[in-house]
Symmetry: C2
Subunit: 373 residues, 2 copies
């Protein structure tokens, strides 16, 4: 059985089915062409349709082309260290900020996981908020155009706006949207109102109605579906969104649809893992689409479509031709599983070496990014 | 039928039944004697058992006698101008602050009525917050020991604490405590967590566990029952409380148990009413326990127990002997209904003349009372 809620992604994910169920639109070639008109180089996550679905992206482009500036909104609910899967929507967000030169409002809802998990304290989520902020800054977002909102710290401006949202959402709605029971705690019930706030807070602060585009992993769609219904009722544009597939966990596609740091440190690569750890994790845990023996592999070839190392490269290797060559070589049995893993290890470690350096530098820049009321 | 929730008080209130239903304790003579040991003059609201019930008042006195300082917490949900009924718990609170020389934390939950009433905007509750603050200051609370908390303004410190409370309260609990349905909005569902915060926030801010005493009208008890259950689970003392009867509306005891400003401006005396308005309202609307004709009244006497003017005097006339004389004179028919009304009018107008003066002066002192983070 497949379960997709903002708190749980389990089972094999059928993205075509999700598009129908969630009522989102597919990002088609015409829309990609339209994006291309604004950017010299399309991001590989767009070219490869890893960002596969959207709501109202065409509206955002209409507005932009008319000169009505939009802003970006994405976020991270701190509950642990950042892993590679978390970075995917942020990478696209960074690309969008560069292409359109727009503001990014980045929410750290440090209460969310506290409310939804018994074991987590607010002191722990505060610690993770700090760690997660370093990773966001390390990706190179523009200071002065990037504003961090931390729910418990910015409640002074956010709670009042959340109230306006909350008045329009009943328990029936959150019950059906998130599968709550009567035993859900009242903080968790209220929470979706806080997640809605950054989609219109810039309009409040700038005193003009601005369109909002939210890049996010598809599991957050239930929140934004509720948000879209409500926001227009309180006088703002429905936020648009573009949605990506999940980076699978190292264990492969059929155990977990999404790489979750809560399913064990070995299913995932953290942004703070050192080169040796990365190598060892990929070699040990990355599910292989190769054959059981060398002989068979040479003869029958591997299956890149279920091979986690290959799939990860489709998220991380920007060079299309290189990726195609890998695909062919692996499929034909010219490339062995160990060689494919070595390519991923190299890709990850060269990325992480730079990322970890930027991450250290970010420590002294945090104040530049936290929104000042 | 009698309904008592924090949002609705309807029908004749049977206080003996309430004590049983709510599970509060009666304030008995022994407890009153104990209060008297700390004060030269018992407040008439205590002497007359208008404050008739409590939870853990003995615990507060134990703690105080051991040198463990407590603090007071009360509040006002802004939804209109202040009327005489609102002042009753505040008057006792002021007396308690003077007797025990303790801090008062006064909450203005400016979101509450916004969330529970369709017609009210946050702009309106903000306006009323200002007006209501003037009345609180006018009563003479100590600056430097009296701290106003305005939910939307102080959410920066309150939301985080409310989260800790909210995690321990389920929808089932608020459903049964407040009679919510699934169509209740999620802001209203969360709200009780915000109302709980001032009962332990001073302990957080002062970094020591302090006992809390809440003087309030009995209709707020459902909130504090929930609060008491939760607060001890997160490491603080259960707040104690003392609870008062309602000042009846001018229309009398059997129409409305409580004087509500929402049941029409004529059922109530506002703190801003001028002397002429007070005179006219009392003469026109104050339900009389007198006889139909002068002759009958002289012969049979009036019934002070159902006479609103007399009942109001039991809240406002501090002199016990004077009150007794009035009772006797009215009961025996020596005092006429118009004469009784004239006494109340005089009492109200002399109180309001002073109050309105203090209220004007309060405009420039508001900043001294709003808690500075």
């Amino acid at each position: 059985m497949t379960t997709i809620t903002p708190w749980e992604v389990k089972g094999n994910v059928d993205y075509d089915k999700l598009i129908k169920e969630f009522g989102v639109s597919r990002i088609d070639d015409a829309l990609i062409k339209r994006l291309e008109r604004h950017s010299k180089n399309l991001h590989c996550l767009v070219r490869r349709k890893i960002f596969f679905a959207h709501r109202d992206l065409d509206f955002i482009l209409d507005q932009y082309e008319k000169g009505n500036e939009f802003f970006l909104y994405t976020g991270r609910a701190p509950s642990g260290n950042t892993h590679i899967g978390h970075l995917i929507p942020w990478m696209l967000t960074k690309w969008l900020q560069d292409v359109f030169d727009v503001e990014l409002w980045f929410q750290f809802p440090d209460e969310e996981k506290f409310l939804f998990r018994d074991d987590l304290t607010l002191e722990e989520t505060e610690k993770y908020t700090y760690e997660n902020m370093l990773d966001v800054i390390a990706l190179g977002f523009k200071p002065g155009k990037t504003f961090f909102l931390i729910d418990t710290k910015h409640a002074g401006i956010m709670y009042k706006e959340a109230l306006k949202v909350s008045k329009k959402i009943t328990f029936s709605t959150v019950k059906s949207s998130f599968g709550f029971t009567n035993e859900q705690n009242i903080g968790a019930i209220f929470y979706t109102a806080m997640q809605a706030v950054p989609s219109f807070l810039p309009s409040v602060l700038h005193k003009k109605k601005m369109p909002c585009l939210i890049p996010h992993a598809i599991d957050q769609d239930p929140h934004f579906r509720v948000t879209r219904d409500v926001i227009s009722k309180i006088g703002y544009y429905k936020p648009a969104s573009i949605q990506c597939r999940f980076l699978p966990g190292l264990g492969g596609m059929d155990s977990d649809g999404k790489m979750s740091s809560s399913s064990g440190d070995n299913a995932t690569i953290f942004t703070t893992d050192d080169a040796k750890t990365v190598k060892s994790k990929i070699n040990k845990y990355a599910f292989s689409g190769g054959q059981a023996t060398l002989e068979e592999h040479r003869k029958l070839g591997g299956n890149p479509d279920i091979d986690v190392s290959y799939i990860w490269l489709t998220f991380l290797e920007e060079d299309d031709r290189k990726l195609e060559e890998i695909y062919e070589a692996y499929r034909k049995g010219r490339m062995l599983s160990g060689e494919l893993k070595a390519l991923l290890i190299e890709k990850l470690n060269s990325f992480l070496a730079k990322h970890q350096q930027s991450r250290e530098k970010a420590r002294k820049n945090i104040d530049k990014f936290i929104f000042k009321v």
